[in-house]
């Protein structure tokens, strides 16, 4: 029951808070803070409860599948719930100073709460259609945030985002219709229990739709302008959290609902798209002149990392220790990317406040004026490059080791190349920050600079305290990702 209450706080809390923000106007941030505190407490309760009694399941309205909707907080979900509340908290602290005008304030606070609520709903939902509604909510709030951007490209970016998202959701929904036709249910576990001739096409359609929404290469064209064009605190949310929702849905589909409908070739295609994302995103990031664009292309590349897991967890290695390593490594990578990417975008937010630009040339010498945030940027970059000591390193190490253990070293080498590319494209902003001439800056409170630092430290700490994260991820993981056979 405590688990159910905690879940209710995380699902209904943000939505109520959004309504509260809408009504509170000027006091929006205070309402959001209260919801965040409650949410953080709820995450702690869930985490603890889950480690003691296993995944927490709630049958909404008491109905249960197939008629009703089932929610389940497993290790994967709780991990993302935790990452979301941490990132939201950090963004709150910076956004409080950033969104000062009535319009920005009145749109941002309710939208951010809705975005958080939608994320939470997606992480725990076990129902394909409910996931669709959650994903639409997430997309529309994300579009609202992009449209808040002040740059000339923001409207165009939001427009492109919405067009891609519209098509993505319809294609996904088409798959859902076929699943319902073939299985007579929308519940992930019940789908897993049966088989239907429609599964392959349905999975293909749903995957294509979600790939568009997750900006998986080659469907990524909408992401960089959107994430670079949004106001920076919003970019932190968009880049760190939003694409993870589609990723989690893909993982649930491929490894929980339809593990039998996924031939090795399909798994390899997913990983190949991931590899394409790593290389293309990395090379594009190298060519950008604005920090936020570098970070946005970096997100494209980093999302690719997550898909390299597919042939390692499924396929021939399913059930081995290698599969378990790839699974945990990838999810730890997703968490640390969330923390580190939020950190770098919040750094960008502070710097744009301070010097009014995010061109690399204008950032020159900032290390002297704003050492704390530059240090935070460096640490977060280290995690994103996958260098120790950081969560990003543990992630890369585990997945690479799995790829060698399973006799598929090619995928591991792609990760290694991606790490080098990341080092290359982060080197340019880092070197710029370190240049000699200090720019003229507006004073930034030290406490504000500590916010990205805290996130970067958390990403680094994930590299040292990865055992708890590993244990968490094993709770409720599919059998073949726990190293105990399919």
């Amino acid at each position: 029951m405590t688990g159910e209450v905690a879940l209710a706080v995380l699902l209904l809390g943000p939505l109520l808070a959004a309504l509260g923000c809408l009504l509170a106007g000027r006091q929006g941030s205070t309402v959001a803070l209260l919801a965040l505190i409650a949410g953080a407490a709820a995450v702690v309760v869930l985490w603890d409860g889950m480690l003691r009694t296993g995944p927490i399941e709630v049958r909404l309205g008491g109905w249960g599948a197939p008629l009703g909707i089932v929610l389940r907080a497993d290790g994967l979900a709780v991990g993302f719930l935790a990452a979301a509340v941490v990132v939201m908290g950090a963004v709150w602290a910076v956004a409080r100073h950033d969104f000062a005008t009535p319009r920005a304030r009145d749109v941002f606070w309710p939208s951010s709460m809705l975005l958080w609520g939608a994320l939470n709903a997606i992480m725990v939902s076990r129902d394909l259609f409910n996931l669709y509604v959650g994903l639409e909510l997430l997309t529309l709030t994300a579009v609202a945030m992009v449209a808040l951007g002040r740059g000339p490209g923001a409207i165009e970016a939001a427009l492109r985002y919405v067009l891609y998202a519209l098509m993505g959701s319809l294609v996904y929904l088409l798959g859902v219709v076929l699943v319902y036709h073939g299985h007579g249910t929308l519940d992930l576990d019940r789908i897993a229990a049966g088989r239907s001739g429609a599964d392959a096409l349905a999975l293909g359609l749903m995957t294509a739709g979600l790939a568009i929404k997750t900006a998986l290469f080659p469907f990524h064209a909408w992401l960089p302008p959107a994430h670079a064009g949004a106001p920076s605190p919003a970019s932190a949310l968009l880049s760190a959290l939003v694409p993870k929702a589609g990723f989690v849905m893909l993982v649930r589909l491929w490894f929980e609902a339809m593990p039998d409908a996924t031939p090795p070739a399909a798994l390899a295609v997913m990983a190949a798209l991931g590899a394409g994302a790593i290389l293309h995103g990395g090379l594009m990031a190298l060519r950008q002149e604005r920090l936020k664009q570098i970070l946005a292309y970096s997100t494209v590349a980093q999302l690719g990392y997550l898909f390299v897991m597919f042939p390692l967890v499924g396929g021939a290695g399913a059930g081995t220790a290698g599969a378990a390593e790839a699974w945990a490594g990838t999810q730890i990578g997703a968490f640390s990317h969330a923390l580190a990417k939020a950190a770098v975008f919040l750094c960008a937010a502070l710097w744009i406040r301070a010097i009014g630009s995010d061109r690399l040339a204008d950032l020159a010498g900032l290390a002297r004026a704003m050492p704390l945030s530059c240090f935070a940027f460096g640490m977060a970059a280290v995690s994103l490059m996958g260098l120790p000591p950081s969560g990003g390193f543990i992630a890369k190490y585990l997945v690479m080791r799995a790829s060698f253990e399973l006799g598929l070293p090619g995928w591991g080498l792609v990760l290694a190349a991606g790490g080098l590319l990341a080092a290359a494209y982060f080197y340019r902003p880092l070197a710029a920050l370190f240049a000699r001439e200090p720019p003229r800056v507006q004073r930034t409170p030290r406490l504000l600079e500590a916010v990205p630092l805290a996130l970067a430290l958390a990403a680094a700490a994930l590299g040292v305290l990865s055992q708890p994260a590993y244990d968490l991820l094993q709770a409720g993981a599919p059998a073949y990702a726990r190293g105990i056979g399919p």
């Binding site: 165009e156 427009l159 519209l166 319809l170 088409l174 319902y180």
Partner: protein
């Protein structure tokens, strides 16, 4: 499966195809939003036709379709206002990558008259 079910399933699939084609080939943003709505209603119709039995439709798909219609409206509204705002700023109703004239201008600027 009765003849009418087949008919509706085929029609719904065709509607999806028509809409999808429109969405993919057209540049005018309003037309693309319109095409999106054609795909949507075709998809909903498919859902209903597959759940059709004699006098009515499975209530679960019915409810899901109603939800879907509302969600599609929400997305359409956002998209259309965005298009309007985009046109206000740029005077255009198509995205730069879809402009044929641009491509021609570019290629002619590239040295080939």
């Amino acid at each position: 499966m009765t003849g009418s079910v087949v008919l509706f399933v085929v029609t719904a699939s065709a509607l999806i195809g028509i809409g999808l084609w429109g969405f993919l080939v057209q540049a005018h943003l309003l037309r693309r939003v319109l095409a999106f709505n054609v795909v949507g209603s075709g998809l909903f119709l498919l859902f209903g036709a597959l759940g059709w039995r004699g006098g009515g439709v499975d209530p679960v798909p019915q409810a899901l379709v109603i939800t879907g219609i509302v969600v599609a409206l929400a997305a359409t509204a956002v998209a259309l206002w965005l298009v309007g705002r985009f046109a206000e700023e740029t005077g255009r109703a198509d995205l730069p990558e879809d402009r044929r004239e641009d491509r021609q201008e570019k290629s002619s600027a590239g040295g080939r008259p």
